[in-house]
Structure formats: C-alpha cells, structure tokens
C-alpha cells in the first residue's frame, strides 16, 4: 500500500517541481523588492526627521502586528474594491514584499543605531555630507552588523510564502494540498513538501549560524 502510494506520488513529480519553482520565484522576487524598500525604511527610521521616522514606525507596526494571512487577503480582496485589479501572483508578491520590507526596515534601522556615534562624528568632521556619511561610513558597518539577522529574515520570507497558497497560488504547499486530495497520505505528501522547503531553508540556517558564531568571536 505504502509503495503503491509512493509510486503514485512519483507521477505527481512535475506538479511538485513546479510548486517548488513557484515558491522560489515568489520568494526571490519579494526578497528583491523587500530589500530595496526595506533599506529605504531603515534609513528613514534611523534618520533625523522625527515625524517621518514616527510615521514609518507606525506603518511598520501595522504590518508587524497583523497576521500575514490577513494581509494577503487584504491585497487580494480589498485592493480590487478600490480599483486595483491584481492577479493572485502579483497580490502575493506585493503582500510578501511589503511584509519583508517592514521587517528588513526595522533590522537595518537597528543596525544603523548600533554603529558607534564616533563614526558619524568622525565622518562629519572629515567634511562628508549626510548622504556621504551614510553611504561611505555608516551603512557598510551597519550592514555587516545585521547580516545574520538579514539571512534569518530571508528564511522567514521563504516560509511565509507558503501562506500565499491560501489565495490559490500553486506553490509548494498548495501543490501538496492538491496531491493529498488524491493520495490520502498526509505524512508522505507533506513529508515530501517539507523536504522541499528544507532544501531551500537549511543551507541558509547553516550560513546564519556560522555568521553569528564568527561575529561573536570577532566582538570578544
């Protein structure tokens, strides 16, 4: 019985591979957009313009405080009511990029604040403008500090992409959900789905751990 089901699962191999491809492209696209907007958020959040920083903080809080599932539904069901028609894929990418931008923004802001004050003072007294200080002195150091948390955020992003399956995107989780309707063995089907995610995420977990360890030794 078990081997029979394994054999049937092999017939669904193309669907699973397609799902894996969808998960990867969703995550990569959102990662790219999320990093760009997140960097902007981080700079504003750690910047000197008080009200802009507070406003960005409020925006970030709104998305950090609500479940991603609700955000996906908002993109998919509410944006059309104000005239923005979106395919499920673009709704998913928008929701996921926005969420990761919020988290990456907070991470980068904390990195900028962790750079010693002397660095920006020294840069200022060397005659650098604020934008130059940021680009040449502060950001390179801040990004080094937050590297492990950024990798951690990428892992979260891949895992969060599974939630988008709720609006019918055929990602890895959704293809598992489809297959389990035909092969009634959840342990087998979602075991295989889990292996798919493991292959993407585990190397990143490994890298993040090594970075953390190296950073701890470099600080001590």
């Amino acid at each position: 019985m078990f081997w029979f089901q394994v054999e049937r699962l092999l017939n669904y191999w193309p669907i699973l591979l397609k799902g894996l491809g969808m998960t990867i492209s969703l995550s990569l696209l959102s990662l790219l957009v999320g990093c760009v907007i997140g960097l902007l958020f981080g700079i504003i959040r750690a910047g000197r313009i008080r009200w802009l920083s507070a406003l960005t903080g409020l925006y970030i809080d709104l998305f950090r405080g609500t479940p991603f599932l609700v955000q996906v539904f908002i993109c998919f069901f509410i944006l059309p009511t104000v005239g923005i028609e979106l395919s499920a894929f673009s709704a998913g990418v928008i929701a996921l990029s926005n969420l990761s931008a919020c988290f990456i923004g907070e991470i980068i802001a904390s990195g900028i604040k962790a750079v010693p004050k002397g660095q920006s003072e020294a840069a200022l007294s060397s005659g650098l403008r604020y934008s130059q200080q940021l680009r040449l002195v502060i950001l390179p150091q801040a990004l080094r500090i937050v590297r492990p948390s950024l990798v951690g955020q990428f892992i979260l992003l891949v895992k969060d992409s599974s939630v988008i399956s709720a609006i019918g995107i055929m990602d890895l989780t959704r293809s598992g959900w489809m297959i389990v309707q035909n092969i009634p063995n959840g342990l087998l089907v979602f075991g295989v789905v889990g292996i798919g995610y493991f292959i993407i995420c585990y190397p990143m977990i490994f890298v993040a751990r090594r970075m953390e360890r190296r950073q701890q030794t470099s600080i001590l």
Partner: protein
C-alpha cells in the same frame, strides 16, 4: 476605502468577533504553554552530553525551523488520521502551534544559557556553592533574564501564526473575519475587524516587552 466602512455590520457580528477573539487568545495561550514545555525539554536535551539524546532534539529543532508552519499544520491535519489518530481540528491546531514555537523557544533558551561566561560557573564553584545553589543564585537568574524579551517576541509571532488555523476551519478571529467577508460580501469590514483584533494583542504584548526592558535595565550595563 475606509470612508464607507459599514460599522453596522461589525456591530452585528460583534458577538461572533468577540468569541473569535477569545478563541484566538485561548489557542495562543495553550499553544505557548505547550511551546514552553517542549522548548525547555528540547533545550535541555541539546545541551546535555549524551549524543543519542541530543541528535533527535537537534533534528526536531532544525526540521521545524526549516519548514513553514502551514506545511507542518497540513502534515498533522492530513497525516494524523492516517495513523489512526482522530482529533478535532482545534486540538491539531494547538499541537501544531506548540510544536512549531517549541523549536524557537528551545533556541532562545539555549542562547540564554550559552551566553553565560564560563567564569561564572567556575567562580560560583570555587565560592563553595552547591550545585542547586549555583543554579538558583548564579546561573538561572542570568540565563532567564535575557530570554524574556525574545520569548515575548515569539509569543507575538505565535498569536499571528494562530490565524493559519482558520485554513483548517478552526473558528478563531481570522475565520470570523472571513465569514463576514463571505456571508455579507464585505471583505473590508471583516478584514478590518480581524486586523484590529490582532493589533490589540500585538500592542499589549509590545507594551509588555517595553515594560520588561525598562524593568530589566541593570545599572552600569547597556
């Protein structure tokens, strides 16, 4: 968009929303309690020297951290009946939440204990403390303190994650919101009410974290 928000609908559904809110609190509370127990056990197993006990604990933590909660949830939901274990959806959901967060709790506690310098163990030993006194007065107070903030962070994640249980038809806040959206074709009202409920919990937990970090400030340390 929010200008023509139909407050009446939210008022009509308020009892259902309130029930969903309470259910979310209950689910997350039970899930977090389970996660703490699992996490402490898994952490204890990963830092003790016996290899055959350590390996399964590490495998548990890594497998959970490398896969999404939704896949874990479906794994249990579609998989447990296969093993002849028939449980109501809500119980499966709580188990999934506890298993998922347990791995993260284990990592948080482990980093708390590993952050204690070796000198602390050695100094307390050479001061003549017994093992229990050492744990009680020197090690645990230092190990627990730095874990409180990340644990509150994990609780926030867990509350939000509990919304995924709506996908296996557990009635909680997100599910009630979806029902309003579907019954009355009013997605804005349903989702806004859901989001508001989760934001209340989020800000409460965030305030708790802020309160703790002020309370925890040790003079002379950053």
């Amino acid at each position: 968009m929010l200008g023509n928000l139909n407050i009446r609908v939210i008022a009509d559904y308020f009892p259902a929303l309130w029930q969903g809110f309470l259910n979310t609190l209950m689910l997350s509370g039970l899930g977090f309690a389970g996660a703490m127990i699992l996490g402490i056990i898994a952490c204890a197993l990963t830092i003790q020297p016996l290899r055959w006990l350590r390996a399964p604990a590490i495998a548990y933590v890594d497998c959970i951290r490398a896969t999404p909660l939704l896949a874990q949830l479906y794994f249990l939901y579609f998989g447990l009946p296969r093993l002849g274990i028939l449980l109501p959806e809500i119980v499966i959901g709580i188990i999934a939440l506890a298993l998922n967060s347990g791995a993260y709790v284990a990592e948080i506690i482990r980093s708390g204990i590993l952050a204690i310098p070796r000198g602390q163990f050695e100094a307390s030993m050479s001061s003549g403390f017994t093992y229990l006194q050492r744990m009680r007065f020197i090690i645990l107070p230092q190990a627990i303190r730095p874990t409180i903030s990340p644990l509150i962070g994990q609780a926030i994640v867990l509350v939000k994650d509990s919304s995924l249980l709506s996908l296996i038809s557990v009635v909680e806040l997100a599910r009630v919101g979806q029902q309003i959206a579907l019954d009355r074709f009013m997605p804005v009202e349903g989702l806004a009410a859901t989001a508001a409920g989760f934001l209340i919990i989020y800000y409460l937990l965030k305030a708790l974290a802020g309160f703790w970090s002020r309370f925890d400030r040790v003079p002379g340390r950053s």
